[in-house]
Subunit: 189 residues, 4 copies
Amino acid sequence: MPAAARRNEQSRRAILDAALALLAETDYAKVTIEAIAARAGVGKQTIYRWWRRKGEVVLEALTRQQTPVVLPDSGDLEADLRELVRATVAEFADPRLSATTRALTVEMLSDDDLAGQVRDRLLRPQLEAVRDRLAAARERGQIRTGADLDVAVELIFGPIFHRWQLRTGPLTEEYADALVDHVLAAVRP
Amino acid sequence: MPAAARRNEQSRRAILDAALALLAETDYAKVTIEAIAARAGVGKQTIYRWWRRKGEVVLEALTRQQTPVVLPDSGDLEADLRELVRATVAEFADPRLSATTRALTVEMLSDDDLAGQVRDRLLRPQLEAVRDRLAAARERGQIRTGADLDVAVELIFGPIFHRWQLRTGPLTEEYADALVDHVLAAVRP
Amino acid sequence: MPAAARRNEQSRRAILDAALALLAETDYAKVTIEAIAARAGVGKQTIYRWWRRKGEVVLEALTRQQTPVVLPDSGDLEADLRELVRATVAEFADPRLSATTRALTVEMLSDDDLAGQVRDRLLRPQLEAVRDRLAAARERGQIRTGADLDVAVELIFGPIFHRWQLRTGPLTEEYADALVDHVLAAVRP
Amino acid sequence: MPAAARRNEQSRRAILDAALALLAETDYAKVTIEAIAARAGVGKQTIYRWWRRKGEVVLEALTRQQTPVVLPDSGDLEADLRELVRATVAEFADPRLSATTRALTVEMLSDDDLAGQVRDRLLRPQLEAVRDRLAAARERGQIRTGADLDVAVELIFGPIFHRWQLRTGPLTEEYADALVDHVLAAVRP
DNA sequence: AGATAAACGAGACGGTACGTCCTGTCTTGTG
DNA sequence: CACAAGACAGGACGTACCGTCTCGTTTATCT
């Protein structure tokens, strides 16, 4: 393991910036280690020294700019869920955010290790925040006690993810609202 | 456009067989056009002449062996759904089927065109079969009239797909059953 | 062996014309069988049916437009030689004629058979015409009896060919005249 | 332009050795970049990095093993010339040396740049050595002052080259001697 | 006036080599 | 000793032609 102490923070930043820039500008096929290195003005070895795969660079580039998850808790479960789902659907509908998600998904599908990292670092916080919100609702009696909260969380994100990735339908506000209705029906007492 | 009439059916079959064999045997990274051509005893140009990308070859190889979708309709919606969901979960849990799905998903994420073809040829029939089964249930009054059947279908497959791809939980029979319970709750009158 | 009787004269002409046109227009590397066939609006097989190699097509294209060799015989050996050598040098200096000669030379170097044909059909008549002129001069006592006429002919064309192909000097009228002087010195009584 | 300082001398040698070996063993048509790379245990890019065309590799392979030109100067011009011409004729008559010369000639005819390099590196030293020998003879009065030494040199090599390439006659010792006689006649006072 | 058989255009085919690109490792100086 | 620079072996990419091989479709003889 390299002595991280010696690590050049400037190069690290340049690499992550370059990766983000390329992700934003070009096809994911053009986001190669060589292109990142060239763009960052960095030797390829400096990338290989600190990351094992391109996917890890991309992941780190994306996590770096991640904002902490804050879910609204107005007490009104339906309103809060609607806000969450609308925001999520809008995000997947946005071609720019969508492109990086797509990139990351490709990497995850070809590297189990990376998949784990993405899951734990990017995804889990998001999903657990929602789970916590649902738990609070359950305590208030807004959700039936028999409901499996993990399943409930997937009932929200699964359909959106599915529709986004397989393009089986439009990602609109109407869709978001319809989804919320069904999810609520599934967990209501 | 090439005169498809002149197409050599033997070569076509050899190519698709080779693609399937490689998909089954090796990492997707090793399923290259060159490997397929070599395995099929065919010139590379013969592949490029009839398919634009590797993904299209893989897609055609997979569609060729596809069995028509038959959904049970015993009249008992819960039983039928449980059977469907258990089978689907088992399929995604199977590493062999899973590998080709993973491969195809990677290709879809990097080629919109291919994504459309996969959706229309492989996915849509499956999803519509389920939708039809739900429509039948609705006519029998087993599903509330307000339910959006498209959303309902995604309520089934979305979570499975999500859990499979992001590995956020185990793909077991218990999970299948819990999912069925929630889906039913969502659409029941 | 094809029954030449059935041969389509129109196609034959189109092929030879196409070959000439390509020779004149492009690099010799682009003069491929496929290009000739496409240009001539002819199937590749029609070329392969009547010629064994590209070089033979080129040879036939060039021989077709060849004019019969006529050497001046004014009685004045020096004047006649000077005219011949100046014309030959000028021909090699002309980039257009030079290009086809270059092409043919390449083919000859990679095909002994073709080399023989070129020698016999294109070259020999030329060389023998010169040899005959020298023989006439010898009978008139303008050339010493000991002179080897074959060597003498090569004394004329060898240096020009050498200088053209290896670009060891300019192909000017002065050069032509200097060469004539030395050749005459070599064979004079 | 690559920093030649970083060049791997071992690879360079392996490539040139492989090229020579292939030239000696096989048809020139089989001397491909891929074959050279495979034989040398080298990536193709390593060849393309340092040479533009196959011809340049071949040229460098041939120049590397070139022995410095040493011409005899016994004072006897005729004897020295006879030795030189006999050796040259024998060399062209030798099928092994002839094959590489043929290969190089093909390359020269399709690449002006390479032609220049061959001329300057391989040919010129040889021709100038002969020119110098003739100059020495002229100073001794063995050659007439009016003789053009460049023309004289070509009077020697041109006919041999011509006869070799166009196969217009045998390359024997008798031919060598006849040629020497005529060349001497051309330049003698 | 058919019949028939070869030549024809078109272009698919199995191959070979091309020249480019990227991978992940190794090497060479610089700070 | 991390770094930039970039050479290296390897190997896939997609393209261009090779020479052979069907396809149907003209033609040109020969019944």
